[in-house]
């Protein structure tokens, strides 16, 4: 075991390149490729000597550096140069380096911003899974007060009509009501007291109530209430022959 020299760890090949450029105080826009390529490769060699894994990303850029270097060494064809604009083989790499450099600086800005932000303590909040009711941003939709008023007149008109009709309606008898309940219970859609009574008049409510009591007495149905003042459920007794 020899002596250990601490080897800088870089975030990636661009990080390493930028570091070499900064160290040598080179203008990033005019990189001496041969020199930088040599230093870059020397670093990779050091890494290998220390059994550090040199990732493929570093090798890709090494290859790029060498390619640029050789392109720049090639004598330029003067005929060619007359017609096409000379393209610097370093262009793409420099653009990449500049872009990376910018984000590296932003990363530092973020560190500073975070420091400022954490100097201000927010209140601690506790997560709550409580479901929230929605807010209606426009609770009446596009209805107007005139619509509301005319709707009210219509409703009252209907009430007035039906009030007259009601006078001549034949009233349902207890046995008819019991029969109606049997049918509705068999259909099975309405099984609670509230549903069966419905929104009808007082007479109908009383008759329905009496009909239910009668059906219980005849052992055709049972009534279940799970808690005081809770909903009352009606159930047909199984195996009971219901005469329709």
């Amino acid at each position: 075991m020899g002596y250990l020299v601490r080897l800088e760890v870089y975030e990636g090949p661009f990080d390493l390149l930028l570091n070499l450029i900064e160290r040598d105080q080179i203008d990033i826009l005019d990189i001496p490729i041969a020199k930088i390529a040599q230093e870059y490769l020397a670093y990779l060699k050091q890494m290998q000597e220390r059994d550090l894994v040199v990732s493929g990303d570093f090798l890709v850029i090494a290859a790029t550096l060498l390619r640029i270097k050789s392109t720049m060494l090639l004598p330029r064809n003067p005929e060619f140069e007359e017609v096409s604009e000379f393209e610097d083989p370093r262009e793409e790499l420099i653009a990449q380096l500049l872009e990376y450099k910018f984000y590296k600086e932003v990363a530092q800005t973020l560190v500073d911003r975070n420091q400022q932000a954490t100097a201000m303590y927010p209140r601690l909040h506790y997560e709550s899974n409580e479901k929230k009711l929605p807010i209606y941003t426009n609770p009446v939709g596009d209805s107007s007060i005139h619509q509301l008023a005319s709707l009210y007149q219509q409703v009252l008109h209907v009430v007035k009509e039906s009030a007259h009709v009601h006078e001549v309606q034949r009233r349902i008898s207890l046995s008819e009501c019991m029969q109606e309940l049997r049918v509705r219970l068999i259909a099975g859609h309405e099984t609670t007291f509230t549903q069966l009574v419905g929104a009808r008049d007082r007479y109908h409510t009383i008759v329905t109530f009496l009909a239910i009591l009668e059906l219980v007495k005849k052992r055709e149905i049972i009534i279940i209430q799970h808690q005081d003042f809770g909903e009352i459920y009606l159930e047909l007794i199984q195996d009971q022959e219901v005469v329709l």
Binding site: Y121, L124, L133, H146, L148, A149, V158
Partner: protein, 176 residues
């Protein structure tokens, strides 16, 4: 440290502490006697007299909370926003409640001739109607009436601005 400065620090500590912080703890941090801390908290409370926030004493410590009278507003936080139109059933029910308030659900149903539970719960959700106490009598049913929001959204200053009620007798008078 000036008292003013100490007050600021106490406010910050009470606000940021993850639990109700006691005057002893505050005193330890500030190197003050707890009694001084308590006096400073009294002064802070005076300064927050007109704020939506207040310091309450709870579980042996102090804690910033919103004023209890704001609870109905705070409840609205984080609720999803919905802008769906109101159904005809809802509007019809609203019309009846607007003109006949306060009235019970069964009264509405008597007029409309159909069950109105869902219409009424929609109107409650939309905060266009609210409970106005209970009616005397069997079952003490809930009475409903329209809200401030109802007036705002129909552009009415008060219920007197409702277009004239048609000259039709009230439901109770019909059967006579």
């Amino acid at each position: 440290m000036k008292l003013e400065e100490a007050q600021k620090v106490i406010e910050g500590l009470i606000f940021a502490a993850p639990y109700p912080i006691s005057s002893e703890e505050l005193g330890t941090i500030l190197e003050f006697e707890p009694i001084i801390v308590e006096r400073l908290i009294e002064r802070i409370r005076e300064q927050f007299a007109n704020s939506g926030l207040m310091i309450r004493t709870v579980a042996g410590g102090y804690q910033f909370v919103t004023r209890p009278e704001l609870v109905s507003w705070i409840d609205k936080l984080g609720r999803p926003l919905i802008s769906a139109p109101l159904s005809l059933a809802g509007l019809e029910t609203l019309a009846i409640i607007a003109y006949q308030q306060p009235l019970t659900k069964s009264h509405v149903e008597q007029i409309r001739g159909v069950r109105s539970d869902s219409a009424i719960s929609t109107l409650l959700d939309r905060e266009l109607i609210m409970e106005f106490g209970r009616k005397d009598g069997p079952g003490r049913p809930i009475l409903y009436g329209t809200t401030q929001k109802f007036l705002v959204h129909f552009g009415l200053r008060s219920l007197d601005d409702l277009p004239d009620r048609p000259k039709v007798p009230r439901i109770g008078e019909i059967s006579e």
